[in-house]
Amino acid sequence: MASAGSEDGVPIDDYESLIGTTDVELLKKAWRHEKVAPEILRFETSLVQRSREQIQLMEETVEEFAQSGVDPLTVSLYQMDLDRTQFLLRSYLRVRLQKIEKYMFYILKTDLWNRLSEQEQKFAKRCTDDMGKHLDQSVLSKLPEGYKSILKQSTASENDDMIPEPKLGTFVICRSNGDIGTFELDDSDGVPLELLVGDLNILRYKSIKPLVESGQVDLV
């Protein structure tokens, strides 16, 4: 979305950092992270809220421009900007819903639950209910006593061993935001990795998970 109007009089050096912190850039980053990370990330409540307000504002502006006979090219540029932002927002929410659909039982029983928005929690609840009902009537009700659980293979299992979990060991491509220094990976046999600013690495998601959460590395 247009960041116009706010960068007047700002030196060129600050321009990039300013652009990097506009809501559109933040939304793009949130969307990229959500697409790449194997597990569901924290819902960006205020960012989504702000983006929606800006989208509405843009819609009004475009309409106003169209009515007051502003140059069609300008209007179409604004419209394009608006369309792209809306795509980002929709896609972001969509990717999250698809993760909820995929790992609903896992999310429901772990603290990932707290990462969902209120509406997503309702959706996840209904998802698990519907799925539970479906599996119950099509499979589990036909199995003998002691083997009817949806979470366990049989009553002999001590843990819930039938829950699909996100594969945290998948490799992701990440870029360091600053000099993080040496960082111990949990599968590198004690050989630490040095992460410098701008470095691109392909690593297992689970080993850099804390760095992603603290914003020290970006997923690309």
Binding site: A66, S76, Q79, M80, D83, R84, Q86, F87, L89, R90, S91, L93, R94, L97, E101, K102, Q119, E120, K122, F123, R126, C127, D130, M131, K133, H134, L135, Q137, S138, V139, K142, L143, P144, E145, Y147, Q153, S154, A156, M162, P164
Partner: protein, 197 residues
């Protein structure tokens, strides 16, 4: 051999092209559930036999114990196969909501069993209520927009329509250059197609 039928069921799933649904194999599915019941009966008989002989069911390691174990493991494996079959089909059923829409054509419905049809409806409703709470339709805008205008070919006789920036006569087979937002509803209804550049 134990577990062979369940394996066939999963193979059927795997041999399908990804995201394609094959017809629900009720016959084979029921055969596997019957096999499960047989295993359970055998398992119970063996356990009762061990108990009747006055032996501890946990500590005894005689042939009956291992026989019971085999039946238990075969049962658990069958369960996993049945669940995998149903669960992965449910994945595809859900993806149909995104790709096809809230109403499925008859040729797809024919491949689902009763419970799956119901599941599709329920899940569809869950998604709809999420979207209405968010006041945002998530089933549009699947590809990143490149241009606010696209070229479309009209497939059906739509007639004279007032669009947001002009009025147009959308006669069948005519080609137009329209605003993407104007054209999308027509494309979704199958009245137009987008022409690739």
């Amino acid at each position: 051999m134990y577990g062979r039928k369940a394996c066939q069921l999963v193979k059927e799933l795997a041999s399908c092209e990804s995201e394609q649904l094959s017809a629900y194999n009720a016959d084979l599915f029921d055969q596997v559930t019957r096999e499960c019941s047989t295993h359970h009966v055998e398992l119970q008989t063996l356990i009762r036999k061990i108990q009747d002989e006055g032996l501890d069911t946990q500590a005894t390691k005689n042939p009956d114990h291992f026989g019971a174990l085999i039946h238990h493991l075969a049962l658990v494996r069958n369960k996993r196969c049945l669940m995998a079959y149903m669960y992965n089909r449910a994945d595809i059923v859900r993806s149909l909501r995104w790709k096809v829409g809230p109403v499925l054509p008859q040729e797809i419905l024919g491949k689902l069993n009763f419970s799956e049809t119901e599941y599709f409806k329920n899940h569809s409703a869950a998604l709809d209520s999420y979207m209405s709470e968010m006041e945002l339709d998530l089933t549009v805008d699947f590809v990143p927009p490149k241009d606010p205008y696209i070229q479309v070919r009209v497939l059906d006789d739509i007639g004279d329509v007032l669009l947001s920036d002009k009025s147009a006569n959308l006669a069948p087979h005519s080609i137009h250059f329209l605003k993407r937002t104007d054209a999308e509803p027509f494309i979704a209804q199958g009245l137009m197609e987008e022409l690739a550049n």
